[in-house]
């Protein structure tokens, strides 16, 4: 795993979990790799991996079955979706708005762009 | 005892022997070939190997290979690149000195004598097939043989000490110090002799000087000799032990 330096590694591991859950590689109520396995996978100190697991537990995305391991929560997918949506609305969008004002981009232009993008994807699917 | 464990000593000896396998095999092959040739030569003259003939070649080979073996075994201690790993190996200094003494002393003597016996006997067998030589046992355990073993065990601790004490040119420095010790002893004896026999004017005549040498060697005889050798050996071994304890990289 390549780390970028701006975000703490444990949060980058959390993102890696989110990605796997959103992409349905890890399903709800399914066992996920252990702390040690994750540490080896992403080449980090197991203490850092534990921090990521604790964070995800606090978010109720995963839970621990004593002696068995960690599992994705019952509605983990939706939880991740909510978390990522909030992140999008609160972090990514304000950034985009800031740039839009700076470059004097009108909302209609963005809307056209977006429609076109959706169209393209629909075409590809067909 | 936690710091003295026979099995660990055994493992340490095994380690030394295995790691030096290549060197040992080469050295023993060279010795075997040399001995074989020399014995064949001695058979050519009178078709028999007498103790003196065998010992005159055996003693040189035995002492030289012994000294070389001591320095090979202790090479790891003074090589900058390998002494980290050697000194951090969980073996106590008592165990190290015991193992090294045993390997370069008893184990070496037994293996080397046995090999020379085999080679010599083989040479005699070969001789008995290709010449008029009658097959006869090799006379190895002569009086001289035991004298030689005693001598080797006497000098062994000195070389052990030298091999650990000196970092560079270990063999040269050890030999040099040995020479100095011997010269010192001789000088000391001469002085002693000269002082005690002041009236004879020791340092003037050749004859008396040589008598002093003779007396120097006679000084240690009987029980005194055993005592001296025993004390000297244990002192050198103790000194070697402390050198191991104090060894830093």
């Amino acid at each position: 795993m390549d780390f970028d330096n701006s975000k703490p590694i444990y949060l980058q591991i959390v993102d890696f979990f989110y990605e796997n859950i959103l992409a349905k590689r890890w399903h709800e109520e399914e066992r996920i790799p252990s702390v040690r396995e994750v540490a080896v996978m992403v080449e980090v100190n197991p203490n850092t991996a534990i921090r990521a697991f604790n964070y995800l537990q606090e978010q109720n995305v995963i839970y621990n079955k004593r002696g068995i391991g960690y599992f994705v929560s019952e509605n983990g997918f939706n939880k991740v979706l909510d978390i990522k949506k909030i992140e999008f609305m609160e972090v990514i969008l304000p950034d985009v708005f800031k740039k839009m004002r700076l470059l004097n981009v009108q909302f209609d232009e963005v809307k056209n762009s977006f429609d076109q993008y959706v169209n393209n994807i629909d075409h590809e699917k067909k | 005892m936690k710091e003295y464990n026979i099995r660990r000593i055994g493992n340490f000896i095994y380690r030394d022997v295995i790691l030096l396998r290549g060197t040992i095999t080469t050295a023993l092959s060279v010795v075997s070939v040399l001995l074989f040739i020399v014995i064949l030569f001695s058979l050519r003259k009178d078709h028999v190997v007498v103790p003196g003939e065998f010992m005159s070649v055996f003693n040189k080979l035995y002492i030289i290979s012994g000294v070389l073996f001591i320095f090979s075994v202790l090479k790891e201690t003074n090589t900058k690149a390998s002494n980290h790993l050697y000194l951090t190996l969980p073996v106590s200094s008592y165990e190290r000195i015991t193992a090294i003494w045993f390997t370069t002393g008893i184990l070496y003597t037994i293996v080397f004598s046995f090999l020379c016996f085999l080679v010599g006997q083989f040479a005699i067998s070969v001789g008995s097939i290709f010449s008029e030589t009658n097959f006869h046992p090799l006379p190895i355990f002569s009086e001289d043989y035991w004298q030689l073993i005693k001598f080797y065990f006497f000098i062994q601790p000195i070389f052990l000490y030298g091999a650990i004490r000196f970092n560079k040119n270990r063999m040269g420095k050890t030999l040099l110090s040995l020479l100095l010790i011997v010269l010192g002893l001789i000088f000391f004896n001469m002085m002693l002799y000269g002082m005690l026999n002041y009236g004879y004017d020791v340092f003037s005549g050749e004859e008396l000087a040589s008598e002093a040498f003779g007396l120097a060697s006679k000084d240690f005889s009987g029980i005194e000799k055993v005592l001296f050798v025993g004390v000297f050996m244990s002192t050198m071994l103790l000194a070697t032990y402390f050198k191991i304890v104090e060894k830093e990289v």
Binding site: V40, V44, N45 | T79, H84, L87, P90, S92, V249
Partner: protein, 283 residues
């Protein structure tokens, strides 16, 4: 695990390398030991393994002085030196003759690690490159399962894929019972493994903090205009990164290189901040 008290060390006829150094290493951590060239990292590691004797002070493992090199002590320590030579025997032979001295040695683990490092136990060590020899020794060191594992520049001589293998292997072998100390210049190779930073400078310990504390109080990155006041150290190059007091900024990953430079230039200020604004007595 290992307690170092007021150690002083110098080589014969040369300047003092370690002066009044005190450190405490505990199990469950991977320590990164940093310092400029010649600041005594390797010397400290040699003292910790009893290969050098401190001129003053103590270095103890479980209450036993390391310079005594007692069996009990040595069974709990393994050092992977920066430069070394191994005997020219097969890897399996090397394992056979040396492993018997370590009570917790795991042969399975050693063979597994050798395989992970893409070596074969039948290879003769004399035919290996230096990097491969290093892998043999690292694998052996991990498999001894000593509680204290010291590594001096372990990634020197490893090629790029091997560095990743090394990180994976380290991540899998650390556990609560082990204490690992790694000294290195190659900060980037190891920054994801280390969870505690020790920096030696001017013959002394100038910095000794867990990463969690560092990321709690310091912020690493490109500062905005309004952050000017809280800059502790910044790179001089244009758009350079800086170390700031974190205050209410989001947590960032600790940039070890930046931290190292900051500590070397502003040791007192940084230590004061990490001690939660209590003034260091030396200030």
């Amino acid at each position: 695990m290992i307690q170092i008290d007021n150690i002083r060390f110098y080589y014969p006829n040369s300047k003092v390398i370690l002066n009044n150094v005190s450190l405490h290493f505990t199990t469950g951590n991977i320590y990164g030991l940093f310092g400029k060239n010649g600041e005594g990292k390797s010397t400290l590691m040699k003292i910790m393994t009893g290969l050098l004797f401190p001129k003053a002070g103590y270095c103890r493992i479980l209450n036993e002085n390391t310079f005594k090199r007692s069996v009990k002590c040595l069974q709990d320590v393994f050092i992977v030196p920066e430069e070394f030579e191994l005997p020219g025997v097969k890897i399996s032979t090397y394992e056979r003759v040396n492993s018997t001295f370590y009570p917790e040695f795991s042969k399975d683990q050693f063979y597994k690690l050798i395989k992970e490092f893409k070596l074969s136990i039948d290879q003769k060590i004399s035919t290996l490159s230096f990097g491969q020899k290093k892998k043999v020794l690292i694998a052996f060191g991990i498999a001894t399962n000593t509680r204290l594992l010291l590594m001096d520049e372990p990634t020197n001589g490893l090629d790029i894929p091997s560095k990743s293998q090394f990180r994976k292997i380290m991540a899998s072998s650390v556990d609560q019972g082990k204490c690992i100390v790694i000294s290195t210049h190659q900060v980037r190779d190891l920054h994801s493994l280390i969870n505690h930073v020790v920096i030696l400078d001017n013959s002394n310990v100038t910095f000794d903090q867990p990463l969690s504390t560092i990321s709690e109080y310091l912020w690493f990155g490109k500062p905005n205009q309004d952050d000017r006041a809280s800059i502790i150290y910044s790179e001089t190059s244009y758009g350079g990164k800086a170390v700031l007091m974190r205050k209410d900024h989001d947590e960032t990953e600790v940039d070890l290189e930046l931290l190292f430079n900051a500590v070397i230039s502003q040791p007192d200020q940084i230590n004061a901040i990490l001690k939660n604004m209590y003034h260091d007595e030396r200030v």
